[in-house]
């Protein structure tokens, strides 16, 4: 299921130049067998937007990952070639190099390379046969040349690597909050109030009000935690009876039932609806959930249980007890995470449309 040789790549592939990421995002590692190269990224970008990746030739990765929506699709749950709603809400694709090495809401892929081929083959998503796809791409002269240059072959592995390379370059780093971190702007009073609430775990003993966001979203600028399963949590969407499997699908561990990936909050104002099943339409609904809608269960994050601006729960209802003004401030802060450059950048856009 591969075409072409393998000794061309090292001779001609060009190390990616002009790439720069913010220092404060932290260290990232690119797999040694898939370094970022100009050719790999360009190939991955074309594949990402090419509907030939689906059996019917109608659906590309970009169908469910639309750039102007920060690479989500605005649907409760995505819909692929079968027309049947998928199980999950489309995840935003930004700053994936810094995330956990488990991808998808339930962590079922261990690398970007692994995840890249799953939707292509999924019967409801793209329903493509990899052998047929390789043959089809190899028959295209322009693809053949790109594959040869980037990987020395046209193969499923090369497709996965190219898509992963493009996804790694989807770096979002020019939101108003980024500009704030760089010292280029100041946040307004409401945004600053929201920032402080976002960052604080409530502590009535020292009169510290907080929204407890940072406890789970500590890596909110990037893709989440970098440890294996640390970036997964049960955020109280369902009670014990209705807990969905979540991470337990991967680990088999009952303690992981109901745990889903804590997503990046970058561009969150553009990525509605929210949660793994898209149950909340607005950020206001999300804040209301954390404020007074959390449902208890055996795997609910203890950080949520104990977070109460009145000092509870002490056997009472789990609630943050935020004021309306505080919730508005948090939402104002979340809007500072919107990066218009990211959602309009030509280098991330559809290469076929641009032609």
């Amino acid at each position: 299921m591969a075409t072409g040789g393998c000794d061309e790549r090292q001779r001609v592939a060009t190390p990616l130049t002009g790439f720069s990421a913010p220092f404060v995002f932290g260290r990232f590692e690119v797999p040694a067998d898939n370094p970022l190269t100009e050719e790999a990224v360009e190939l991955g970008r074309r594949l990402f937007y090419d509907p030939r990746l689906s059996a019917a030739g109608t659906t590309s990765c970009s169908t469910c990952h639309i750039q102007r929506l920060a690479f989500t699709d605005g649907r409760t749950t995505s819909v692929g070639v079968s027309g049947r709603p998928l199980a999950f809400n489309s995840m935003t694709l930004a700053n994936l190099m810094w995330g956990p090495q488990r991808f998808f809401w339930n962590g079922r892929a261990a690398s970007l390379e692994e995840q890249a081929l799953i939707p292509i083959q999924h019967a409801d998503e793209m329903a493509q046969d990899l052998g047929r796809l390789v043959a089809e791409l190899a028959a295209d002269a322009s693809y053949r040349e790109l594959f040869e240059t980037a990987y020395g072959e046209t193969s499923p592995a090369a497709i996965a690597r190219a898509l992963a390379s493009f996804l790694r370059t989807l770096v979002s780093s020019n939101s108003r909050y980024d500009q704030f971190l760089r010292g280029e702007i100041a946040l307004d009073a409401q945004e600053e109030s929201g920032r402080k609430l976002f960052m604080a775990h409530p502590d009535v003993k020292v009169s510290l009000r907080g929204a407890n966001c940072i406890d789970c979203h500590s890596q909110f600028l990037t893709g989440g935690f970098s440890a294996r399963y640390d970036g997964f949590a049960n955020n109280g969407l369902d009670d014990e009876e209705h807990l969905q499997p979540g991470l337990q699908v991967v680990t088999g561990n009952p303690a992981h039932r109901g745990l889903f990936k804590v997503p990046s909050l970058r561009n969150v104002a553009l990525t509605a609806p929210y949660m793994h099943d898209g149950r909340f339409r607005t950020l206001e609904e999300v804040l209301d959930h954390y404020d007074r809608g959390v449902r208890n269960s055996s795997t609910l994050s203890p950080l949520i249980v104990e977070a109460d601006n009145r000092g509870g729960p002490a056997g009472g209802r789990i609630s943050l007890h935020l004021t309306a003004g505080e919730k508005a401030a948090i939402i104002a802060f979340l809007h500072t995470l919107t990066d218009q450059d990211f959602v309009t950048a030509g280098r991330f856009s559809d290469p076929f449309a641009s032609k």
């Binding site: 190390p15 990616l16 130049t17 790439f19 720069s20 990421a21 913010p22 220092f23 404060v24 995002f25 932290g26 260290r27 990232f28 590692e29 690119v30 370094p35 970022l36 190099m97 704030f180 971190l181 760089r182 010292g183 280029e184 702007i185 100041a186």
Partner: protein
């Protein structure tokens, strides 16, 4: 410099030589152990930002660099990236990360007393130093320490300038108040002793800085020329008015005949030592002592200073820095080159938590990290001021200080203090090491 001052310094130098003679267990290189798989390691944790000082007789220039300090790494001591600063006559001095992750450096050169260091990451994820942007300080010179602190909901960046608005002033010194976002000068707090009324508070050669609630304390150390004058007090600044309100003298025996020269200060407070009674700890560079000044936050009054540690009787000199981790407070003593350690939970009392860590002459700044082997280590920069030696024809020699200086970083097991490796910057790079800071994740946990 007066003759008596010089005699005092030479006396100290004699003491230094005696002490150093018993401390020669240098160990170059690193013991190599099999590292765990790369995927389990944070390969960046052991990398440090260092400020390097060009040595005139060796033809090198000042620079900022990233260096590998993992004693288990095959490339231990390698400079991974270096940006030279040929336009600076004097080097950058101290590195600090802001709360939002921006990297700043104070500087000794009048043209660059405060700077922001640009950092980014390349396609391999490695840190890249993009350059050094010297900031407008409003004429303030010889930047020393930086602290970010919030007062009444507003955050400020405070910087001590030992040279104040001009090192030509015999009583120079100022505290710069900056907007932490724009780096713009908000105010220059200056109260020259020569202009202050009798008994009125003054700011003189400020170096150390620390704050709690609405009180900021800075030390009064030494004139930047190391000759014109030496301080013996700390200054309390009211952060509501940004004005000095009190001086507190911390001085006793004068073991080398100089004023005590308070250098670093640490406002012990609940955020760094839960449950601790607030107090200011002060290291006196020439007094060899550590002082404790109790603070009553109810009436905002400072109590009488109490000597918490006496180096003259304990055989140590020139205490410099405060650092901490989750359980311990560390104080470096340039003579004979050791780091003493104390229980964090006992602060502000200095209750030893273990044996001294034996570094080298000039033991000064430090960082903490976990090596690839999984061993927790402490890396200590050993130099006082990176000055050269007269016998080498080096014009920067100033009395004893040129000798309190090993030009090295030593790496030690944090638990046992065992020395694991030594990186000699002068031998390997013809440079001195002015400062070090963890590349990602501040090593200044309790620095201020």
């Amino acid at each position: 410099m007066t003759q008596s001052t010089k005699l005092g310094l030479f006396s100290l130098y004699a003491v230094v030589l005696l002490i150093l003679a018993a401390c020669s267990d240098k160990q170059e290189g690193a013991s190599v152990a099999a590292p765990p798989p790369a995927a389990q390691r944070n390969v960046e944790e052991s990398q440090a930002m260092v400020l390097l000082r060009g040595l005139p007789t060796l033809g090198t220039v000042h620079s900022v660099a990233i260096v590998e300090l993992d004693p288990d790494a095959a490339n231990f001591g390698a400079i991974l990236q270096e940006v030279e600063l040929p336009d600076l006559t004097l080097p950058l001095h101290h590195l600090y990360y802001s709360p939002t992750g921006r990297l700043y450096s104070t500087g000794l050169d009048p043209s660059c007393s405060l700077a922001e260091v640009g950092l980014s990451r390349n396609a391999e994820g490695a840190a890249v130093i993009n350059g050094v942007n010297c900031l407008d300080t409003g004429g303030q010179q010889v930047g020393e320490d930086i602290m970010w602190h919030t007062v009444d909901g507003k955050e400020y960046m405070f910087v001590t300038f030992m040279g104040g608005t001009g090192v030509d002033q015999a009583d120079c010194g100022s505290v710069g108040v900056f907007d932490p976002q724009s780096n713009a000068v908000i105010k220059i707090i200056q109260a020259r002793k020569s202009a202050a009324a009798e008994g009125a508070p003054y700011i003189l050669y400020p170096h150390g800085i620390s704050a709690y609630q609405d009180r900021l304390v800075v030390s009064s150390t030494v004139h930047p020329d190391l000759a014109t004058g030496v301080g013996n007090a700390i200054t309390v600044i009211d952060l509501n008015t940004l004005e000095p309100i009190q001086n507190i003298v911390v001085e006793d025996a004068k073991p080398v005949g100089f004023p005590s020269s308070p250098v670093e200060v640490l406002f012990v407070r609940p955020s760094i030592a839960p449950g601790a009674a607030p107090a200011v700890l002060v290291n006196t560079m020439f007094g060899f002592e550590v002082w404790k000044i109790p603070y009553n936050e109810a009436d905002k009054s400072f109590g009488a200073p109490v000597k918490a540690y006496d180096g003259a009787t304990a055989g140590t000199g020139v205490p410099l820095e405060f650092y901490g981790n989750a359980t311990e407070l560390f104080i470096s003593h340039a003579l004979p080159g050791i780091v003493k350690r104390y229980q964090l939970s006992s602060l502000p009392e200095l209750v030893p938590s273990g044996e001294d860590i034996k570094a080298e002459a000039g033991a000064h700044h430090m960082i903490f990290f976990t090596a690839a082997s999984g061993r927790n280590v402490i890396a200590i920069q050993n130099n006082l001021l990176n000055l050269g030696k007269a016998e080498d024809g080096d014009p920067t020699d100033v009395d004893f200080m040129a000798k309190v200086n090993d030009h090295s970083i030593t790496v030690h097991d944090l638990q046992s203090g065992e020395r694991l490796a030594r990186l000699g910057f002068k031998e390997r790079y013809n440079k001195g090491v002015e400062n070090l800071e963890a590349l990602f994740g501040s090593g200044f946990v309790h620095h201020h």
